[in-house]
Structures are given as C-alpha cells and as structure tokens.
Symmetry: C7
Subunit: 91 residues, 7 copies
Amino acid sequence: MSLNIKPIGDRVVVEAAPAEEKTASGIFIPDTAKEKPQQGTVVAVGDGKKDEPMTVKVGDVVLYSKYGGTEITIEGKEYLMMRESDIYGIL
Amino acid sequence: MSLNIKPIGDRVVVEAAPAEEKTASGIFIPDTAKEKPQQGTVVAVGDGKKDEPMTVKVGDVVLYSKYGGTEITIEGKEYLMMRESDIYGIL
Amino acid sequence: MSLNIKPIGDRVVVEAAPAEEKTASGIFIPDTAKEKPQQGTVVAVGDGKKDEPMTVKVGDVVLYSKYGGTEITIEGKEYLMMRESDIYGIL
Amino acid sequence: MSLNIKPIGDRVVVEAAPAEEKTASGIFIPDTAKEKPQQGTVVAVGDGKKDEPMTVKVGDVVLYSKYGGTEITIEGKEYLMMRESDIYGIL
Amino acid sequence: MSLNIKPIGDRVVVEAAPAEEKTASGIFIPDTAKEKPQQGTVVAVGDGKKDEPMTVKVGDVVLYSKYGGTEITIEGKEYLMMRESDIYGIL
Amino acid sequence: MSLNIKPIGDRVVVEAAPAEEKTASGIFIPDTAKEKPQQGTVVAVGDGKKDEPMTVKVGDVVLYSKYGGTEITIEGKEYLMMRESDIYGIL
Amino acid sequence: MSLNIKPIGDRVVVEAAPAEEKTASGIFIPDTAKEKPQQGTVVAVGDGKKDEPMTVKVGDVVLYSKYGGTEITIEGKEYLMMRESDIYGIL
C-alpha cells in the first residue's frame, strides 16, 4: 500500500476510494455528494514541518477536502498530493 | 455519543441539534434564527494544535457558527466537521 | 448577572444596555449615535487565549464595537458574543 | 485631565485639540490641513499588549492619524479611542 | 549534474524532464497533463532558511508545481528557479 | 537639526531636501525623477520596536520612499513622518 | 566596486549588467528575455534583519527579479535598490 515517492514537509499522498464505497466503519459517500469531503487511503507521508510531526500514517483511511489536493499520476494510477491540513479526520 | 472518527488537529465533529429545540439550560433557538449561532453536541475531538490543547470534549453542548463547518455523513447520519475556533461557547 | 454559558478562548458575552441609558460614570449614549461604540455589561468570559489572560470580568460595564459581536439568544433574552478585542474599554 | 474609563490592551483615549490651535512647542495646525495628522491630549491609557508596555501616558500631547480612532462620548464630551500605533509622536 | 549557481535561501534550481518521459520509478507524465505536477532533477540547492535546513539535494528527481518556478537560462540551457515549497515530493 | 517631537516606535521624522540638490556624496535627484526615492535629513527618531533598535540617527542623510511618509507641519515647516522601513539607505 | 550608501536592513544595491552580456560562468541573457531574471553586481549591502545575517556580499554577481527593485541614481549612475529576497542566486 506504500508508494515510491517521499512527499516534502507536511504533504501526504492519498489514493481516493471509489465513489459510493461503504467502508468498514460504515461511512457511506453517495454519488451525489458534490461539496462533501472525500474518503481515501494514505499511501505516502512527508516528515512534517519544523517541530510539527505528522499525525496521519501510511494505511490510514481519511476524510479530506476535495478542494485541497493536486492530482498526480504514478505508475499509471491517479493519486492526490495534499497537505495534512487538508485532511479532516482519520476513520 | 462518541463517533468512529479521529479529527485532525483542532477539528471537532458536532451533531447539530434539531431546530427549535429547548435545552436543559433553557436556550431557545427559534425557527427563524437565520444568522444566529447553531446548537449541537460534540461527538469527536482532535488532539489540538501544537501547544494548544482542546477546550471542548465529547458530550459538550456547544453554540457554533453556522458558517464554520463542513457537512460530513457518517453511518448515514449528517454531522458537522469544524475547527474549535468555530465554536462560540459551551452551554 | 452571570450566565449559563462558557465562552471559548477570548470570547465574552455582553448584555447590551438599553439605548439612551446614562450610567453611574455619566456616559450618555444618544439615540442617534449610529457609528459609535455601544455600552453593555459582561455576563460571561472565556479563559483567554494561550498565555493571554482576560482583562474584562463578569460585571464590568464596557464600551464595545457594535460591529464586532454576534447575537445569541439565551433563555429568551438577546446577548452579544464577541472577542475581548472588540471591547474598547471598561467604564 | 484623566478620564473615568480603562482602555483595553494598547488602546488610548485622546481629547482632540481645537482646530488651528498653536501649542507651546509651536506646532500650528491650519484649518485647511485635511490629510494631516491631528493633535490632542492623552486622557486614558490601557495596560498595553503582552510584553509590550505603553509609551504614551496621560497628559502627553500627541500627533495622531485622523483615520485611526473611533469617536466616543463620555460625560457629554467627544473623545477619540485609538490604538497606540495610531499615534505618530509625542510633542 | 551540478550547476555553477548558488541559490539564495530555500531556492532550488531544477532541470525539467522532457515531456512524456517515463522514469526509473515508472512515473509517466502524459503530453496532455496540463494541470499536473512536472518532473525534473535538482541541479542546485540553497542553504535553506533560518533554522530550516533543506530536504532536497542535488540529483534528486522531484515532482514540482508547474506554476511555482521562474525560468532561467544558464549556459544556453533552460532551468527552473523555485522555492523548496514548490516541490511536492522526491521520487 | 533636532526637533521637538518624540516619534513612537520605529517612526522617524525626515526633513526633505529641496529638489535637484546635489549632496556631498554626489547623489543627484533630477527634477523629473517622479518614481524615484527622495533624499532628506533625519531630524527625530523613535526608540524602535520591541527588540529592534533603530539603525538611523538624527543627522543621517537618507534615501526614502516618497510613498511611505505622512506630511506633518511643525513650527511652520513641513516634515515627513515615516517608519524606518520606508528608508532605503543612509548616504 | 563599492558604493557610498549604507542600505537599511536586508536591502542591497545592485548595478545591473548591460543587456546581452555573457558572463564568465557563461550565462547568456538574450535581448528578448522579457520575463526572465536579470543579472548584476552587488555594490552595497545592509546589515540584515534581526538574527538574519546577509548571504550576498559586495562584488557578488547575482540573478535577481526584475520586478523586485527600485531604481536609484547615485553620482549620475543608475542602480537598483532591492531586498535580498529579490535575489535568486549568486553566480
């Protein structure tokens, strides 16, 4: 589940969950949720900013702002590069 | 009353009270209160920001800015994800 | 004169004085004072921000910016929730 | 020359000098000086901000920005409530 | 792979990879990726800002924001001068 | 060359040099220099901001931004009240 | 190569290189480079900001942002007064 990239600072790479997925913890993201947070899995984590270690770790299932990240393509797959502050919480 | 999500940093998850509710402490939120703070119950709390522990805790009934939060859906129920600074006070 | 709410951080709840009131210290707020500070009584005070204790206390009669607060209704009465920085001075 | 109000933080209450006054130090503020600093006397001073004591004191004759203050009326007289940073210098 | 320029502060000089290149780690940047991060190689690195040493070093293959850098021409070749914060991650 | 005013904080009072003057160090300010820095002599200096002593002193001939100061009139003469950061350099 | 002016704080005076010059290190600035950094030689350096000593020194050949400086005329010659942060790197 880890990825061959080292994010800089407080950046995180997230693999977005497919739409309408229902997770183990039972969070349901309906297809029509346009403004709502997205769900995904953390696949790479930076070392954090000075004196501020990271909270999330690789493997965490997270809710994140759909407006916070930047799409990147690694080995033909789409991921999102975002800052930890774009992540709302860990499920 | 707790929820299966760990908010990041100073974020808080609040379950909004139904409109027109009258609480134990007697605060009445009329149906026409368009610009006024909303009332709800804290259901999840982050660990706070660096050197700034959180003030609110799970179970607190709070007044919050209706413009400060983001709607999230967990197990089919609507909640609000907000920062503690969006909370005005604890009832 | 105290109120059943605990403001978060540097927030303060103020009960506005009726218009045209003349206080013990003789400050007169005429009915036509449209842009001028308002006068009221502090009814609840937060614990302040990190390393910055509050200056005002419950019972203080204060002048405050009429643009700084948010109206809240508690037990059927109107109050103003504001930050201490919205208060100009203690009478 | 002191006034029955305690400004909060770095705020100062100033009694504006009448227009066209000529002070002991000889500063002349002509009637047509529209954009120029105003002159007045400090009548109340706050305790300053955290770790930043105040420089001005009650009785100081000061030049101040005419755009920095807020008019307040105390005992039927007009004063200006401003921050110390709105004061340019002490005459 | 190093370059005869010493960037100031947290600046970095990057040599952009040709479009559609496929790197050793398998990241594929298609020709049509208009909004996506760019890939390149670090050729010069500043000493960092006060108390914040640099993370990237000469020779690192990096993903960077295509909007963050400034084009410079050294010895007839194009490079990008950017801040380390414009770099998303190291491949 | 000193002046009967004590600027607050990092403020400085400057007496502008007449246009087209040529100083001892040979700086020539042509009449048509519309966007260029102005030259003048420091006549009063504040005590600086917290932990930041002042660099300029009374008597220094300085180049300053013509957009940074505020005109004041003392004893019938025009001066400029500015912050030290509006001064580019000492001649 | 030094100049009779002491810049304040982190300011630097740069003598711009003539257009299309080719330096010892081989950087070529073509006549049509409209948005690209400019090259010049540092002729005066301030003492830096509090706790932040300067990196560049008199005599350094530097690349700088053409939008960062202010033109000044000293002894009939044009120079640029800029902050060190407007300098990209030392050649």
